[in-house]
């Protein structure tokens, strides 16, 4: 009898230990490498803070129950060599999900992501990131899609004949990548005429270029670069009296651009020359009131971020990628599977249809599958009105991107 009793006690003890082990808190290791200092750090810095703040919020509000996310964020100064070193470090630490930044480093480490079989979300929306890669997921529609959306907007809203368009691009893969896709869209029937593709340098004056474009009858300049060269161009155009005061004004130029050309930083750099600038992105912005703006500002306030960071669309972009990462962990956890690289990759690919996910700071749902690795496809066009970006219509999806795929 004594033996049986002791056996019973032992079983109870083991049961208790099993339960305790079952509810033991887990920490999920994630890694992120981006330009907190150096070139493009004006975008990287708020992006990093967005990621950091959202993961803090997840942990503090126990959105993953007692489990927590530990995301190490390292500066790579926009250098691929340093990104590679950071990535190797993270892999050594056993990360299960990786967040990257630049186009150059994403392309440079593409094979490493595949070898490590680790789902990666970069801050670069270059379509080339997805070529020959299975593990890179763009957060939003590619630069190509953004430029085509703007070109479609021009084709649909231009009055009188075929619109003459010039592209103003960064002299790198980041800038050049979408050019061939725009050309393909035109070949597929997009009703615009591509007059010239300008690769900008570090020019401080664009008078000659603008005069040349005017002489060729260009009415729309679509930019795929960063804010500073666009700001220089806008200021020169304003000085020369070439900027259209409304979309498509005859005899003037309407300026437009993709994600990294716009935002509050552009307005800060270009001042009132930014007026009537058309910009597309898949993120909500704080100059448009709504629940997303409230949430973004509340998060920034909670973690004592300054106004510049709080109102940055890059802060919103950082929050978004953190939301996606936290969501796939939550989903994998809900299924009771072991949370590892493979499980999160599977969850990423399953994020479509009824399983799509709508992060608060985005203009549409994130959808991923084995054949679609561009997240938010719904792009919102904004334009600067009275010194702030305002919505132009509702979010739209590109028609021609499907045709050229």
């Amino acid at each position: 009898m004594m033996f049986l009793a002791s056996c019973g006690q032992q079983e109870k003890q083991e049961e208790k230990e099993t339960k305790a082990a079952a509810i033991e808190a887990k920490t999920y290791k994630l890694g992120m490498s981006l330009a907190i200092t150096g070139p493009t750090s004006d975008a990287g810095n708020p992006y990093a803070k967005g990621v950091e703040d959202y993961f803090k919020y997840v942990n503090e509000e126990k959105l993953l129950g007692i489990d927590t996310i530990d995301c190490t964020i390292r500066d790579d100064q926009y250098k691929t060599d340093v990104t590679k070193r950071n990535f190797e470090d993270y892999i050594g630490q056993g990360i299960i999900f990786y967040l990257n930044y630049s186009t150059g480093s994403t392309l440079g480490l593409k094979k490493d992501f595949d070898e490590e079989k680790i789902a990666t979300i970069p801050a670069s929306y270059h379509a080339g990131n997805l070529v020959d890669s299975n593990y890179i997921f763009l957060p939003i529609a590619s630069y190509s899609e953004q430029l085509i959306i703007l070109a479609e907007y021009v084709a649909n809203n231009h009055k009188g004949g075929k619109a003459k368009v010039a592209l103003f691009v960064h002299p790198s893969a980041f800038g050049r990548g979408p050019v061939s896709d725009v050309e393909k869209a035109i070949a597929a029937g997009l009703n615009i005429e591509l007059v010239e593709v300008v690769e900008h340098g570090k020019d401080l004056d664009n008078t000659a270029m603008l005069k040349r474009l005017m002489s060729k009858g260009v009415q729309y300049v679509i930019s795929q670069t960063i804010q500073s060269p666009v700001a220089t161009m806008l200021k020169d155009s304003q000085r020369l009296g070439l900027t259209a005061s409304s979309f498509g004004e005859a005899g003037k130029i309407t300026f437009m651009g993709a994600h990294y050309t716009g935002g509050n930083d552009l307005i800060a750099l270009a001042g009132d020359a930014a007026e009537n600038y058309f910009w597309t992105t898949a993120f909500t912005i704080t100059s448009v009131p709504g629940p997303a703006t409230q949430a973004q500002l509340a998060l920034a306030k909670r973690y004592s971020r300054d106004d510049k960071t709080a109102n940055s669309h890059n802060y919103a972009a950082g929050i978004m990628v953190a939301e996606v990462a936290a969501e796939v962990i939550r989903r994998a956890k809900a299924k009771g599977v072991e949370i590892n690289k493979e499980a999160l990759y599977t969850e990423m690919n399953a994020m479509n249809g009824y399983n799509s996910y709508h992060p608060l700071t985005c203009t549409g749902p994130v959808t991923y599958s084995k054949t679609d690795r561009a997240g938010v496809d719904m792009l919102q066009i904004y334009s600067v009105q009275n010194g702030v970006f305002k919505k132009v219509g509702e979010p739209i999806q590109s028609e021609y991107i499907k045709k050229i795929k």
Binding site: T37, S41, Q77, V82, K84, E88, K110, D306, K308
Partner: protein, 364 residues
């Protein structure tokens, strides 16, 4: 020679051959052998993470490049501020093969030692071509000529589609006798390879400096007209100094391509050239061991400043972006301080330390 080859005391030479020995005493040789064993042995005892192994590999590659720069700038006195472009020539030689025959072709993956040497030779050819202006130009004007080569290189890579417009060109994984070198052993494997190359090239320079060709370099540096009067050919000397530097840089570039398993334009910019020059200055221009000290010191400093800037970025106001300025500021400050207070570089500290230890046992 002294009766006891282990002692420095009473060490005198009876032939030129004896004087030109690499190691003056058996003790020197024993120390050096022990040091080599240590260099080859430590990774087998202390397992280092891939991150730090990559840092070590990177330092060794920089040593190979700086040895070349030291030959042309330190020993021959010809300023070159386009050294990263020569390194890039080596890397893009490998990349050209990858673009032409595929990154996993047997030539890339199995015949990599031959490709590394070939990259060095291509670097040497470009070095000799760029060195031609040295026949007519000196000092600042020569520096501008090398700078223009850097600019031409950058432009060519960024705009030619063959070079993927500067974006990464992938390089396949190499094979060793044991099979394909996997991800786990990649950096360790290359550590042993690069270390072997550093040792071979180091001995190469040491021996070169004992020959008339090596002495020509220094004679031309000190006074090329006097060297000419002494029967040397300053023009040829300058061109082969550039060719030699190009060879070292080409080898370094090829190693970079294999270690990083890809070639991208941003590793070979003017900024990197200035970095190599800084390593040569901080290490000690015109000294062989300076080529080792410089890269170690600058890369170590880089790592520390990176951490500092990253921490500072968390606290400094983002609108001013002060953290970004920390790295170039520290970098510049170190170079200025060395130029002001120790123009002979860390190699001079090493010389002083050695001279103290030489007192024992009664060397003089």
């Amino acid at each position: 020679m002294s009766a006891n080859s282990w002692l420095a005391t009473g060490n005198f030479f009876t032939t030129y051959k004896q004087e030109q020995r690499t190691f003056l005493t058996s003790l020197d040789r024993a120390f050096f052998t022990f040091f080599l064993v240590l260099l080859f042995g430590w990774p087998l005892v202390f397992e280092l993470s891939n991150k730090y192994m990559l840092v070590v590999d990177n330092v060794l590659i920089a040593i190979v490049a700086v040895m070349g720069l030291n030959l042309v700038t330190g020993f021959a006195g010809l300023i070159s501020i386009g050294h990263a472009a020569f390194v890039g020539i080596g890397a893009y030689t490998i990349a050209s093969f990858c673009r032409t025959i595929g990154d996993s072709h047997i030539i890339i993956t199995h015949f990599w030692p031959a490709l590394i040497v070939f990259s060095g030779l291509v670097g040497a050819i470009f070095g000799a071509i760029v060195g031609l202006p040295a026949l007519r130009l000196k000092h600042l004007y020569l520096a501008i000529a090398t700078l223009s080569f850097q600019m031409i290189f950058e432009w060519t890579i960024q705009f030619m589609t063959f070079f993927n417009q500067g974006q990464t060109i992938y390089v396949g994984r190499v094979f060793w006798f044991t099979g394909k070198v996997g991800r786990k052993d990649h950096y360790l494997f290359w550590y042993f390879i690069i270390l072997t190359i550093v040792i071979l090239l180091g001995f190469g320079i040491r021996n070169l400096l004992k020959t008339r060709y090596g002495r020509c370099l220094m004679a031309v540096r000190d006074n090329d007209r006097a060297a000419d009067a002494m029967g040397m050919n300053p023009g040829l000397t300058k061109v082969y100094a550039f060719a030699l530097a190009g060879f070292f840089a080409g080898v370094a570039g090829a190693l970079h391509a294999y270690v990083y398993r890809g070639v991208g334009f941003e590793s070979f910019t003017l900024h990197e050239s200035v970095g190599y020059l800084a390593m040569a200055i901080v290490g000690g221009l015109g000294t062989l061991n300076g080529s080792f000290w410089g890269p170690v010191a600058i890369k170590f400093l880089d790592l520390q400043v990176e951490t500092l800037a990253e921490t500072a970025a968390q606290y400094l106001p983002s609108s001013m972006n002060l953290a970004t300025a920390l790295k170039p500021f520290t970098f510049g400050l170190v170079i200025v301080l060395f130029l002001m207070f120790e123009p002979r570089g860390i190699a001079n500290w090493w010389r002083i330390i050695k001279s103290y230890t030489k007192l024992w046992p009664f060397r003089y």
